[in-house]
């Protein structure tokens, strides 16, 4: 059941990510990207990580993609008329193939299987996924957390400065 469901979601993810790059209309590409994010969220749910799934949908599908669509709408880029350069396509597919080959090779080598970390499924179910993430975030990873928040604050201030000439 679970593997069948996985295959269905995986198929949708692959098809929609292909559509992201093949769609002529940028809005349709953006929508396909939202669909891909959704499939990713479904995978998080299947991995017993509902918090990650919810954050994925809220942050990527709900906030970032809305802004991207906003920008595309305001620029009013309709259908792309410029023919894409063939050199770029060849280079891109070469890099893509290389990465695919590398991933499959590492998976086949088997160095990534069989290792169990400290977080087991039983622990996640009994303590709670959100509680575990929260505890780790605010104790073990406090410094990265604070650094990230300062970085985000700087980004917000920067956005305000760029948007407003006179403050």
């Amino acid at each position: 059941m679970e593997s069948l469901f996985f295959l269905v979601v995986a198929a949708v993810a692959i098809i929609s990510s292909i559509l992201v790059v093949t769609c002529k209309n940028p809005i349709n590409s953006a929508l396909s990207l939202v669909m891909t994010f959704f499939c990713l969220a479904t995978f998080y749910v299947m991995l017993d990580a509902p918090f990650m799934a919810a954050t994925q949908v809220i942050v990527y599908a709900g906030a970032i993609m809305v802004l991207i669509i906003f920008v595309i709408m305001l620029l009013n880029v309709r259908v792309e008329t410029v023919k894409r350069g063939t050199h770029a396509v060849i280079a891109g597919s070469a890099i893509g193939l290389f990465v695919l080959f590398q991933t499959v090779w590492f998976l086949m080598k088997g160095s990534m299987t069989g290792q169990v970390g400290t977080m087991t499924k039983e622990q996640i179910v009994s303590v709670g996924h959100v509680e575990l993430i929260g505890k780790a975030l605010f104790t073990d990873f406090l410094l990265p957390f604070e650094v990230t928040s300062v970085l985000l604050l700087a980004a917000i201030v920067g956005a305000v400065v760029l948007a407003k000439k006179k403050i």
């Binding site: 929508l31 509902p50 949908v57 809220i58 709900g62 809305v66 669509i69 906003f70 959100v130």
Partner: protein
Amino acid sequence: MDTLILGLPVAYYIAMVAKVLVAFVFVLLTVAYATYAERKIIGHMQVRLGPMRTGWHGLLQPIADGVKLFFKEEIVPSQASKFAFLIAPLVALIPAFISFAVIPFGDSVTIGGYTVPLQIAAYYDEAGKQVFDINVGVLYILAMASLGVYGIVLAGWASNSKYSLLGGLRSAAQMISYELAAGLAIISVFMLSESLSLHKIVADQAGGAWYAFKQPFAFIIFFICSLAEINRTPFDLPEAETELVSGFCTEYSSMKYAMFFMAEYANMITVCAVTTTLFLGGWHGPAFLPGWFWFIAKVYFLIFLCMWIRATYPRYRYDQLMRLGWKVFLPLTLVNVMATGLWVMFISK
């Protein structure tokens, strides 16, 4: 009871399907009759009768409206982006309905020796004698609410009309701004309940200890921001019929228009149900009536409140709306979160 399909008893599947069907049909019926109730209530508030001709006191009006919209001509503007134009009403409608999956609408009931919690995304663990639900229910609702904006933005853009685009842009800005304040208002609730699971939040409010009493500011701000997020009066700027000729749905006709309408009412019901769950004790109430009755009663009261507000207040101006969201509600909710934090830290422990 003994037959297992994929490790779960047959009764589990029957209960799941039954719960989904009952909840879905009930919400659909409420959507249909909310349109009727709105016309009747506003009618009586303005000393009019409202619909009277179709059936007894106009009770068949929603069905007549549905049939009319179903048989109307379907018009797609020639300059529209077809795919986005067709998909937009669905994108608006679906998140409004699937938010209901995590809302507990009653206590567990026992049917044929099998305990079923009245919440779609939940199951009863026979061994541990407790209900498990999706433990990020609140975040799930926020996620679905943030998806609703796509429907309106897409509709506005795909119609390829100035008014629609303006309506779509306005609504996107409005929904994003108010989502923030609504989310921050909820934070103070789960600081008190120490859980994101809606089942636990409802369980915490048993015996009249509603979060509306403990968090009055959060309650009021959440309700107002939710009204803004679902584009209800006094924040219905995206459709503003006087200036934008109905905004994002100007170019829509027939069933697609009806879908936007259904999405609006379904969103209203969802928001009222979420407010009930988070602040008004969910299905808890005096024990002489079942839990689902109290839940429905509270939700209907909030829906009535929405309609009352619509009959009372004029529409906000756009800059006033933005100022209210960013300069009043956002700081207020931040102060509220901080005050709750201090209270939890120093007084309640």
